[in-house]
């Protein structure tokens, strides 16, 4: 092999080709670049013009240089240059190659294998017998020295194990060693108790050379959950310099695909072998985490599997209508929140959003109607193992849900109205609870004597009712019923979740019942005593590199082993599944420490570096290609193809690399819509698809906006037409929805959106526009359409506007609500049945909420409508009476918008004296 400046050539004779380079230079020089042929009529004027310089006839020198360099690179490349050509190392006698084979080796295992391979190569060259032994996977029987070739074939099966060497087994094995041999010890760099003894034994057989990688070793302790955050601790062997690591949390996403869920940086102080950090994660994310891992470290020690200890139950709380500000003790979910907050993670939001988070439990407190899309989604979720917990309440009692036939999301059918016991108008006493039966999940719980029920919804007697009752009142009426659906279950408490109907939520029994229903459970860290007598089956195990593998058919282990033992060949680290929970066994325990090795000075410690031959052929050929590419561009430029006319293709190719696609228009429309809808108060109408109706609705809202602007402190911007399917509704305080008999029904998603809008305080003004020909509820086409449209909506019980409704006095004092038609049939949410007039007050204290719907047929938009020049678009009535009617129509509009924007402000009794004064009383 011909060597030159540390580079050897496998085919040095090819280098003679370099002699040809000057010849090539001359040849290339004589050949100018190929001309372009151009059609050009002006050539007639060019005839007779000669070039000034004759020098350009030849290729310019720098282009020649580029080409010559390319050719030279090709010639040298094919001559096979090799960097660091190998030379030999001497040695004699049998050779023992010992490797620790622990998780700490895994990080640079390929380099260790490479080093062992190099040692085997050397041994093969000198025909030394060799044995390769891993301390974590000791061979049975005596040490068998074999030829290096045999070991080389077995080398790929030598893998690091995710546990530490067992000192007693190692001692037993060393006791059986005989004869003299040289030892190469591939150390993993961690200090262990048995190391000194082993070294002594090996030295008694021959020289020992230690190979060790100077790379820092880091490991991860099991993550714990404290103070509302996940605490992560990393440890390292070598201290003295600051270092950083990134810990990544992996887990399954909602689609079941493993993804990185979170990452956090950990910084070691220079003198510290520990470093801790806390990640505060949303519970949904935290529950999905299956393992933490130090990024970029390929070792079982850098992986920490998580088990149930990190998980908390996720409970979604949904109340029918919970916008009663300030009335927390009456809120349907108050006691549930109090009971669940310490032990579970509560989430709230729209049902469809919640389902994406895949909660363990969904609690519906007095929610009657669900949109079809929502109920379908919940049914699917229950079917896959969700627990749907429902509480009764006035709304459920008043609704038609599960009345005639059993609702899939209700355990029983309900009788109309429910019953009230122990009230002012009933003879009975409030009922106590009957003791829990043996089949009930509550069996064994003590019932405090003060738990009484004064009102409840009643189950319809059915053949299946008896099986479904899990708690009953003293008189036998069901109090809690349960139905199993697929893998999940639906449970109904026949009382409210607050203290209105019963004292159950006030008692400790309530919390215990929730615990028994597994609404709130909190697994504790088990110890050996806890696990005594149980058997755990590994479901996932770690290999030495930290890869999680399916355990397959590995045998189960006894609970006491799992609780106390450290990982070993019989107990690989991994995830062990018991009856209803899972325990993770990690390589690194909660208080493992690691320290670097200290070798006696007589031992030679070498690094793992092997000077490998590096073939430069590929690099040189790539260089030649790169130079040729540069030559192409230079030639194009030189011949005018890069700059002249019709250089499009060439320029495009060059420019292609520099071009970055820019397309950010996708979200513009939605963003623009959101901005225009939210920068000012905006009235909105629903697009019906009938152009004329939509125009009138738009003009009507414009007219109303003008009046509001002129008379009140509400200064609305131009009204917006809302497409129920595509636009976000939550920006609008009110939606005007004119009903046409032929408008299409919104999709299931749109209904979900509408229900969310209604539940979160939005108002829809339905206008059938036919009060002149039909009274409300009569079978006019628009009325029938309205019934059809509103069926999936979560609309509370309605009544005609009572004379003391807040709409009658939110800005103007009104008793009529005319539009273009003068009908008194305008319906709003019914007052609660217990509302009563206090002596001396002209008004009842009615609902606290804004009515979610106002339904009428007075064609208000037509009365309000103005054209672009500000004149009325439609006549209203006749003469002065008509103008008065229009004025009252506007006043109704003003009152309505005021009501929407100020809520129950005018209902507040504080204003009564002033109002009385104005009413002349």
């Amino acid at each position: 092999m011909f060597t030159f400046a540390g580079i050897a050539f496998t085919a040095p004779w090819l280098l003679l080709g370099l002699v040809a380079l000057p010849i090539l230079w001359i040849l290339l020089r004589a050949v100018p670049p190929a001309p372009i042929r151009r059609l050009f009529p002006g050539v007639a004027l060019l005839l007779g013009l000669t070039d000034d310089e004759t020098q350009t006839d030849k290729t310019p020198w720098w282009l020649l240089l580029i080409r010559t360099l390319a050719i030279a690179a090709v010639i040298i490349g094919f001559a096979g240059p090799v960097l660091n050509p190998q030379d030999d190392t001497p040695g004699a006698g049998p050779l023992l190659i010992l490797t620790d084979g622990t998780w700490a080796d895994a990080r640079d295992w390929p380099r260790r294998i490479e080093r062992i391979d190099a040692a085997l190569d050397d041994a093969a060259r000198t025909a030394r017998p060799v044995a390769v032994v891993s301390l974590t996977d000791l061979p049975p029987g005596d040490l068998a020295f074999q030829s290096a070739d045999v070991w080389a074939t077995r080398l790929p099966s030598l893998l690091p194990k995710p546990w530490e060497p067992d000192d007693t087994r190692v001692a037993a094995w060393t006791a059986g060693l005989t004869g003299s041999f040289q030892t190469f010890w591939m150390s993993d760099g961690l200090e262990r108790a048995g190391r000194a003894a082993l070294l002594e034994t090996l030295e008694s057989h021959g020289t020992v050379t230690v190979f060790e990688s100077p790379r820092p070793i880091m490991a991860l302790r099991p993550a714990t959950f404290e103070d509302g955050a996940v605490q992560i601790t990393a440890i390292r062997a070598r201290t003295g310099d600051p270092s950083e690591a990134i810990v990544v949390a992996h887990g399954l996403d909602p689609a079941g695909i493993e993804r990185e869920l979170a990452r956090v940086g950990i910084t070691f102080a220079p003198s510290d072998p520990f470093a801790s950090t806390a990640i505060s994660l949303p519970p949904e994310l935290r529950n999905r985490i299956t393992r933490f891992q130090i990024e970029g470290v390929r070792s079982a020690g850098a992986v920490s599997l998580t088990d149930d200890a990190l998980k908390r139950r996720e409970v979604a709380l949904i109340a029918g209508r919970d916008d009663r500000e300030g009335l927390e003790l009456l809120a349907p979910t108050h006691y549930l929140e109090q009971a669940l907050e310490p032990t579970a993670d509560l989430i709230d939001g729209a049902i469809t959003d919640i389902l994406l988070a895949n909660p363990d439990v969904i609690i519906l407190a007095d929610v009657a109607t669900l949109a079809p899309a929502e109920s379908d989604a919940i049914a699917d979720w229950v079917d896959q193992g969700g627990l749907l917990l429902r509480f009764a309440g006035p709304r459920l009692a008043a609704s038609e849900v599960s009345r005639a036939e059993e609702d899939p999301l209700m355990p029983v059918r309900l009788r109309a109205g429910g019953r009230s016991v122990g009230g002012a108008m009933s003879w009975g006493e409030p009922k106590a609870l009957r003791g829990f039966g043996q089949g009930s999940p509550f069996f064994g719980l003590d019932i405090p004597p003060d738990v009484t029920v004064s009102a409840q919804v009643m189950a319809q007697p059915d053949p299946s009712l008896a099986d479904r009752v899990i708690a009953a009142l003293a008189d036998g009426t069901p109090l809690v019923t349960r139905k199993r659906v697929g893998d999940g279950q639906v449970v109904l408490f026949h009382v409210t979740a607050n203290a209105e109907w019963s004292t159950l939520p006030l008692s400790g029994l309530f919390v215990q019942m929730l615990e028994r229903l597994a609404v709130s459970t909190r697994p504790a860290r088990p110890d050996a005593a806890d696990l005594e007598g149980t058997v755990w089956v590994p479901s996932e195990v770690l290999d030495g590199f930290g890869h999680v593998q399916d355990a397959g058919t590995m045998p189960g282990v006894a609970g006491e082993d799992l609780g106390s033992a450290t990982p070993g060949p019989d107990l690989p680290p991994g995830l062990y599944a018991g009856e209803d929970r899972r325990i993770a066994l990690n390589v690194i325990g909660a208080d493992t420490t690691i320290a670097p090795t200290t070798w006696p000075s007589r031992i030679a410690v070498e690094g793992l570096e092997v000077l490998r031959e590096i073939a430069l052929k590929g690099w040189l050929l790539s260089l030649a290609l790169a130079i040729l590419a540069a030559d192409i561009i230079a030639s194009l430029w030189l011949s005018g193809r890069l700059t002249g006319p019709r250089s499009g293709v060439a320029t495009a190719l060059v420019a292609l690399a520099l071009m970055l696609p820019q397309d950010a228009k996708a979200q513009d429309r939605a963003e623009e819509f959101a901005l225009s809808a939210t920068s000012e108060v905006v009235l909105a109408h629903v697009i019906t698809g009938d152009t004329r109706v939509d125009q009138v609705a738009e003009a009507g809202l414009r007219g109303l906006s003008d009046i509001l602007f002129a008379r009140t402190s509400i200064e609305p911007a131009m009204p917006i037409a809302v497409n129920l399917e595509t636009d976000e509704l939550s920006f609008f305080p009110i939606l005007y929805w004119p009903i046409t008999p032929d408008q299409p029904l919104p999709s299931a998603e749109a209904y979900t959106k509408l229900n969310r809008y209604l539940r979160t305080g939005g108002m829809i003004l339905f206008d059938t526009r036919d009060a002149d020909i039909a009274s409300f509820g009569a079978a006019s086409p628009a009325g029938r359409k309205l019934q059809q449209l509103a069926r999936p909506l979560d609309i509370p019980p309605l009544e005609p506007i009572p004379t003391d409704h807040v709409l009658t006095r939110s800005f103007y004092l009104l008793q009529d609500y005319p539009g273009r038609h003068l009908s008194r049939d305008v319906w709003v949410e019914a007052a609660p049945p217990d509302a009563e007039q206090v002596e001396g007050m002209p008004f009842r204290n009615l609902n606290d909420n804004v009515t979610p719907v106002v339904i009428g047929g007075n064609d208000w938009a037509s009365a309000w409508a103005v054209d672009s020049s500000g004149t009325w678009m439609f006549p209203v009535g006749r003469g002065f009476a008509g103008e008065r009617q229009r004025e009252i129509a506007f006043r109704f509009g003003v009152n309505l918008i005021m009501h929407v924007l100020t809520g129950n402000y005018k209902s507040d009794q504080v204003h009564v004296p002033a109002l009385l004064d104005r009413l002349g009383q």
């Binding site: 670049p33 151009r38 059609l39 050009f40 009529p41 050539v43 007639a44 060019l46 002249g644």
Partner: protein, 291 residues
Amino acid sequence: MIQPTVLRSRAEDLAAVLPPLMAEAEHLASTVLLGAHGRRRSGMGDEFWQYRPAMPGDEARAIDWRRSARSDAHFVREKEWQAAQSVLLWVDDAHSMDFTSDKNLPAKGDRAKLLSLAIAILLIRGGERVALAALGTPPRSGELQLIRIAQALTNRADRPDYGAPQVRGMLAHSRALFVSDFMGDINPVTAQLTKAADRGVKGVILQVLDPQEEAFPFDGRTIFESMGRSLSHETLKAGELRDRYLQRLAERKDALHTLARRTGWQYHCHHTSDAAQSALLWIYSALERRR
């Protein structure tokens, strides 16, 4: 005897080109056509021009009795002179006119034909007689002549590489419009123009050029070829030639301008990148001015 199939296919070829050309030219012409324009003096014609007092020598039947009855003197009713003028069009159809530097620009020949046909439409609508040199017929008026001209303009027969004007059949004291790129030899142009001037023919020279011919944006080793590939010129550094080419082009324009001035013609240089309408307006006013 031409086979019917051949005739059919040729006719279809023709029809395929003709309507758009006609339509485009008519569209262009309609932007200029303001109405019938008389000679602004009395003469033969249909339109009323003026009443003048009868002079001795006026025929009695020339007196307008209706007007004369309203006063004591006799009046003669004069009509506006509306004699038709003859205009000869020569449009260069040489290969060099096929050149276009950009697919978005029309070829020089297309622009030349468009302008010529548009001015022919204007003239014929104005009552003039128009002849196309390539047609070889005397000037005629009427829509039929327009169709003939359009047909002749779209006829692609054997063509030279560079064109030279022909003035056979040119009537004395008529008008002429020469449209070409005038890139070829200038001597035939000089000769023809002198001959035309001798006959008292006044006219217009319109030079149509492509923007690339004005810019010469070439570089590197290039072989330039004429459109018919009869001429070629090789250069190693096209960029070096730019200044000298532009100088020659300016000389050629100057020569044409001088020639036009001497013979009483008018010269204009039009680029295909410019709007056709401005060129049409210029031609129209140039022909009008000397009428």
